[in-house]
Symmetry: C2
Subunit: 246 residues, 2 copies
């Protein structure tokens, strides 16, 4: 089977933001679906993993783009596994617009854990090296890996309580909703005058329905923002994001 899988999409009207471009949350959802389909077709998708009491855990994601698909635009996402290490695997993505031109890339880092044990699995040797057999480091992904994100702000810039619509089938706030809540820190006036060109997220711990979550924000040099989502009561970090605006 091919190492790269390509999926076609159209930017639906309710998936476009005020500017007429796809929202980052919807794009993140598409990336994760592409990953799932690619893995399932090659025998290491969630359904098989769950049978064997394993599950994929998304650790980090970085999305970088020149532009984003517009309302009603057809676009494509390629995905492939770059590398498989013992505890992590890198999966990359390329985003092509309706003219077939690459307009962005994404990088993700995944681990696999035992559903009961919560212990990491050895990805290099799992399933007789199946995942490694799809590694395709030759395909370029010319964006930087997601880096460390540190936030020093002492006062939260925003707060939300996790509700029904945030929660996935595992009872956790879903990975995509954090992206939406972080984007909601910015006013439309600000977003009209600035362009997001890179977004990073690192998932640290789970949050649950009813949890009150604070968002702490550092504004770095230029228009770069680092955000930490933290449990309001216990102060446990949930995820960290970095947004590169211009």
């Amino acid at each position: 089977m091919e190492k790269v899988a390509t999926t076609k999409y159209v930017c639906e009207p309710f998936h476009a933001d005020f500017s007429g471009h796809i929202t980052l949350g919807v794009l993140g959802n598409h990336l994760l679906n592409c990953a799932g389909q690619h893995a399932t077709a090659r025998g290491f998708g969630m359904a098989r993993l769950n049978q064997e009491d394993h599950t994929w855990v998304l650790s980090r994601m970085a999305i970088e783009f020149e532009e984003l698909p517009r309302q009603y635009e057809q676009f494509e996402i390629d995905t492939w596994v770059e590398n498989v290490y013992r505890l992590f695997t890198d999966r990359n993505f390329a985003l092509r617009n309706c003219d077939g031109r690459i307009i962005g890339y994404a990088r993700t880092v995944w681990a696999m854990i035992g559903m009961e044990s919560r212990k990491p699995m050895d990805l290099e040797h799992l399933y007789d090296g199946l995942i490694s057999s799809y590694a395709y480091p030759e395909r370029e992904c010319p964006i930087e890996k997601p880096g460390r994100i540190k936030v020093t702000a002492k006062e939260p810039s925003g707060t939300f309580v996790a509700h029904y619509s945030d929660i996935d089938v595992n009872g956790h706030v879903n990975s995509v909703r954090y992206i939406e809540h972080v984007m909601d820190l910015f006013s439309i006036d600000y977003l009209r005058q600035h362009r997001l060109h890179r977004f990073e997220i690192a998932y640290v711990s789970e949050s649950y329905c009813g949890d009150k979550l604070h968002l702490f924000v550092d504004k770095d040099e230029d228009e770069t923002y680092s955000v930490e989502v933290r449990q309001a009561v216990t102060e446990i970090p949930v995820c960290r994001c970095k947004l590169f605006m211009s």
Copy 2:
């Protein structure tokens, strides 16, 4: 061209709620997309309308179901125009599960207005009667039409501020996000013990980014809830919903 259009879907993992079923917001989004595709293919979609300075306005929607598609389940949505009147048109939907069995229906009511004038268009005679030529009242849709919704509560049960992720390309809170905010009034514990089987929404006025919105809730006999979303400052009603639980 056929009067009925059918679109295939899969319930994506991030579109499933805590119970593993598709969320009502995502289902509503799919219904509205089916409507758009059906209309576009028949010459009365948004792109043509906008060229002629017209636009569709969704007035009401009712969704009723025995069950909802589950995570990873393939399902289909049929849509057709039931009737075309001077000021409104009824568009209906049927929802089929992976076995091809109908598990739900939906009804929507639409008007068309001039984008500048904001005045309603005569749908019966527009485009030489094009829309009427697709009317298909013979196809059954055995659920009740959306009714009048009245809410008398004096104190709000919930509040939200419209943010970036709520806003569509027209600068309005998008029709689907109201459904999500209304569903978020209910705790997962409540939703674990009760089953929603019908949802109605009537759109009254637009709201915008930064608007603070109150949700007023009446609990009627049994487990029926009427909800009014109202501007916190001006008290102008924005939309009303009715939820039939059991």
